[in-house]
């Protein structure tokens, strides 16, 4: 049954890649990257059970946080044009 779950997650990753390649705006690509990251976490968790090494879940926890940080960083860059400034809303609003 882990094979079914892993196959579903892999198909979703392929679909996210399709959207990342096609998506007209940068935000479509960013959304696809976010979904790809979520599915990476799920795939690590499922494949850990698949090969009998559930301790890979530590990696899944790490990937969750890195995925979130990456998305927020790119959103911030798209909004403010820089990652260095703090607070000043000189971008969109």
């Amino acid at each position: 049954m882990f094979y079914v779950a892993a196959a579903g997650v892999l198909v979703t990753m392929v679909l996210a890649l399709v959207r990342a390649l096609r998506g007209p705006t940068v935000f479509d690509r960013l959304l696809a990257a976010n979904i790809f990251g979520t599915n990476t976490v799920l795939l690590i968790a499922v494949s850990g059970f698949l090969v009998g090494r559930p301790e890979w879940l530590d990696l899944a926890i790490l990937y969750t946080l890195v995925n979130f940080t990456g998305t927020i960083a790119v959103c911030r860059f798209a909004r403010f044009g820089t990652l260095a400034e703090t607070g000043s809303h000189r971008g969109a609003e």
Partner: protein, 133 residues
């Protein structure tokens, strides 16, 4: 008796894993096929919440009362905290960059077999009808 419980847990876990994989694929298909950015965000939410929740729930049933289940719960908690936050920031950044909702769906009831997106411009970002200025 415990054998019955084991089989019940196994069946429940199988159902949760299959449903989770199904919802993941549904979200992915929506991500590819939906017109417009905001509709795609809506489809992506299915993968983030139902797909991840059901898959990790099924794995938790497999893990039993062990440390593995605790780690799975931590992963699920982080996902449920960070996914909506990331989506919110993403949509806010997109809205600030003039990605507008450009669908023109007829407000009358649809005829049978009518294409609801017939009057819409091709699914691109920007331009189109402005919802809010």
């Amino acid at each position: 008796m415990s054998a019955v419980i084991d089989i019940a847990v196994e069946i429940a876990s199988w159902a949760l894993l299959s449903l989770g994989a199904l919802f993941c694929v549904v979200g992915g298909v929506g991500l590819v096929r939906f017109p417009g950015f905001y509709a795609r965000v809506h489809a992506a939410g299915i993968t983030d919440t139902l797909g991840a929740g059901l898959l990790l729930g099924g794995l938790m049933l497999q893990g039993g009362f062990t440390q593995v289940t605790v780690k799975l719960a931590i992963v699920l908690a982080f996902l449920l905290l960070t996914s909506p936050t990331a989506t919110h920031a993403l949509v806010k950044a997109a809205y600030g960059h003039d990605v507008r909702l450009d669908l023109e769906v007829p407000s009358r009831p649809l005829e049978p077999g009518e294409d609801p997106w017939a009057g819409s411009p091709p699914p691109t970002a920007g331009g189109g009808a402005t919802l809010v200025d």
